[in-house]
């Protein structure tokens, strides 16, 4: 029985192990100085990490990356939650609403970027409307939402794509809560807040947490939006990695890999800690209940 199990599993496991763990090993090896294809082999060395730490701009890159990721994920969660509640209230009578909001999920991020360029650039439609209304005199007077550090352009793209994603994840989770548990809690005399805190939240938390983590990890690793709409030097970490990787000096590629390995490690630890915390919270809840 067990052998048959592994037989069915092996193809997909092989692909995953080779291509995910394999590439991870490869990336780690390269960041530690093993790159014979560029004629470089200093394995093992930490010099590429030391080079990064030595540059003050890398700290700002990290700050920018985390800023975009945290702000966008948090706003997407809040707005997604509100949207999910609204959808729940509206119910299934209005099918078209359930179509419309999912549209951004279905298109590449680049489409969202195009929309933001046309609307929020300094020569974009919003700036022109502000000019028509007499609020500004020159394109420069319009807030620099794009091509600037900590600009809202990147966050707007993330929100356009991810609020629907959060809303959908939360909506489905909320739908999945059986009415009876709430009714039962009410019969047992639980207040509205208590029902929310002890019945709804524990049931929706795992689903929401996984959606939040997926968004966060994606936003940290995203390339297109910060590359196109960012302020240039210092870039976010993935863009920095890309610039290092396309540098004619091959030694820079190893630094690029070091950037990526650092990011990957950060994300894995974040996810691991988050899932640990959520498991502990769950257990605690079960005991206290």
């Amino acid at each position: 029985m067990s052998r048959q199990h592994w037989l069915s599993l092996s193809p997909v496991l092989l692909v995953m192990l080779l291509m995910t763990l394999g590439t991870l090993l490869f990336a780690v090896g390269q960041s530690l100085g093993y790159a014979p294809q560029y004629g470089i082999n200093h394995f093992p060395t930490l010099r590429y990490y030391e080079l990064l730490v030595a540059q003050p701009s890398v700290a700002m890159s990290l700050g920018l990356t985390l800023y975009y990721a945290v702000v966008a994920t948090f706003l997407a969660l809040v707005m997604g939650f509100l949207l999910a509640m609204a959808l729940l209230r509206v119910g299934r009578h209005h099918q078209w609403l359930h179509y419309v909001y999912k549209f951004p999920l279905m298109v590449p991020y680049l489409v969202g970027i195009a929309l933001v360029i046309v609307l929020f650039g300094q020569g974009g439609l919003m700036a022109r409307l502000s000019y028509a209304l007499g609020w500004i005199d020159r394109p420069d007077d319009f807030a620099a939402l794009l091509y600037s550090h900590y600009g809202w352009g990147i966050i707007l793209v993330y929100l356009w794509k991810q609020v629907p994603f959060m809303a959908l994840s939360i909506y489905v989770v909320l739908l999945g809560i059986p009415e009876q548990t709430q009714d039962a809690a009410r019969l047992l005399g639980a207040s509205r807040w208590q029902r929310w805190r002890y019945v709804v939240v524990p049931q929706v938390m795992p689903g929401i947490l996984s959606a939040v983590l997926i968004c966060f990890a994606f936003n940290v690793g995203a390339f297109e939006a910060p590359f196109i709409l960012g302020g240039g030097f210092p870039d976010t970490l993935p863009v920095l990695a890309w610039r290092l990787f396309t540098d004619p000096d091959y030694g820079q590629r190893l630094s690029g890999m070091a950037v990526l390995v650092t990011m990957g490690a950060m994300l894995l630890v974040t996810v691991w800690v988050a899932s640990l915390l959520s498991r502990r919270a769950n257990r605690w809840q079960r005991i206290s209940a």
Binding site: Y38, G121, Q122, G123, R138, A144, G232
Partner: protein, 446 residues
């Protein structure tokens, strides 16, 4: 078992004869061609049996894209060669591809790139890494339309690419001149800057109305080079020597005034008052700023770019070209190069020969608006007249004025140092002494 082996050998033979050339054949072909022992008919025949060519080029110009597929592809098809145009966003990516494939042991006939549109730094890299097919240019039938006299001004443009000898390892196919244009509704005739010093004065009075493409994009590099020329007491001439003829101190002396100038104007560039100056990543972003009246002036390669962009609605109708900077407008040529591991070398030769024909050059001039790669004075009087007829118009300046203010490119070996210096000094605002930065950059480029 035996049967299987026989079958395998048989298929190997069959497919071998179908592919027509094994690597050893191709090396023999290259040697024969470069030694001038192969009649052009044999090259055409070999090209027909190869059947295709993989051409890699910067695909950001729709006009060029259309011309290649509408005009070039059918013409080549008549010669038995299918054009496979590959549009790329940065030429250095293909150079990298060639290099990686060569490192992986792929020789002539085994790579994936037959021809690349290059000049300057990228050609220099290919040459330094010994990745070139060989000195083929003068051996092409259409080489007669080019001036190969090293001592004439026109000839040196064919033989020196950013000051680096081409030795016929690339074929000129287009000329270029770095030209600036202004929006006349934002900048009056009398205010027009003609020097970098005048530009600085204009920017002080009108901050935020200008910017240039971000180096290491070649459009940005060229702007930086022109500024360096004007600010250095030695002018353009100081930048024609290879890197190894400089000491870190002498190079720092050469570059310091220009870098200081660029750092000085950075807070006066577009969007700078919002915190950081905006250096657009490429030509289309530069154009967007100009269209939106955010900038009053823009600079890019393109002797006829104002004519073509007015025609396609990308520039306001009152856009005019200007002479800027006086006596330092960089003029160069760009080329087609064949890498040493080209999969279809004969087809690549046929392709480059076609591109340098009078007919193709004229059609490119008219349809794309790229200046001639060949040299006008080498043509018959009738062809010369036809070419002049096909030239797009100028606005606000004459061809003669543009011709009288040209300067040569910077030596290719200096470009990387200048790029990295711009990154540290201008973009990152480094306070490190320029001599130290130059020394670092020089040690990296070795």
């Amino acid at each position: 078992m035996n049967l299987l082996r026989n079958a395998l050998v048989l298929t190997g033979l069959l497919s071998g004869s179908l592919i027509a050339a094994t690597p050893t054949d191709q090396i023999a072909f290259r040697t024969a061609f470069l030694d001038g022992q192969l009649p052009w008919e044999s090259v055409s025949t070999a090209a027909r049996s190869e059947g295709a060519i993989d051409f890699y080029y910067w695909g950001g110009d729709d006009r060029l894209n259309v011309w290649l597929e509408r005009t070039v592809a059918p013409d080549l098809e008549k010669l038995g060669v299918t054009l496979r145009p590959h549009r790329i966003t940065a030429t250095s990516d293909v150079v990298d591809l060639v290099l990686t494939e060569a490192r992986a042991g792929k020789g002539l006939g085994q790579g994936s790139v037959d021809a690349i549109w290059v000049n300057g730094e990228n050609f220099y890299t290919l040459a330094q890494q010994d990745l070139l097919f060989g000195s083929f240019a003068q051996k092409l039938p259409n080489a007669t339309w080019f001036d190969w006299d090293e001592n004439s001004a026109g000839g040196s443009l064919n033989l020196y690419d950013f000051g680096y000898p081409t030795q016929g390892r690339e074929m000129p196919w287009s000329g270029e001149q770095y030209v600036c244009a202004v929006n006349r509704s934002l900048m009056a005739e009398a205010e027009t800057p003609h020097t970098f010093a005048e530009l600085e004065r204009w920017l002080e009075a009108n901050p935020g109305t200008f910017t240039y493409v971000k180096p290491p994009h070649y459009l940005g590099n060229t702007f930086v080079q022109e500024a360096l020329y004007e600010m250095s007491p030695e002018g353009a001439q100081g930048f024609q020597q290879p890197l190894d003829s400089f000491t870190p101190e002498s190079l720092a002396r050469l570059l310091a005034p220009g870098m200081a100038y660029l750092k000085r104007i950075a807070p006066l560039l577009a969007q700078a008052r919002n915190g950081i100056p905006r250096y657009p990543e490429n030509e289309s972003a530069l154009m967007q700023l100009f269209q939106n009246s955010q900038t009053a002036m823009e600079c890019q390669f393109g002797l006829y770019h104002v004519a073509t962009k007015r025609a396609s609605g990308q520039m306001p109708d009152n856009t005019e070209e200007i002479i800027f900077p006086r006596h330092n407008m960089i003029k160069n040529k760009n080329y087609l190069v064949i890498p040493s591991n080209a999969p279809h070398p004969a087809a690549a030769l046929v392709f480059t020969n076609y591109m340098s024909s009078v007919a193709a050059q004229k059609s490119k001039l008219a349809a794309v608006g790229y200046p001639l790669g060949l040299d006008l004075w080498m043509l018959s009087a009738a062809d010369q007249a036809a070419m002049v007829e096909a030239m797009p118009p100028h606005f606000g300046v004459t061809q003669a004025a543009l011709d009288s203010h040209i300067a040569p490119d910077t030596h290719a070996s200096l470009v990387r140092v200048i790029e990295s210096l711009w990154q540290s000094v201008v973009l990152q605002g480094s306070e490190t002494p320029i001599a130290t930065l130059v020394e670092q950059a020089m040690s990296q480029s070795k």
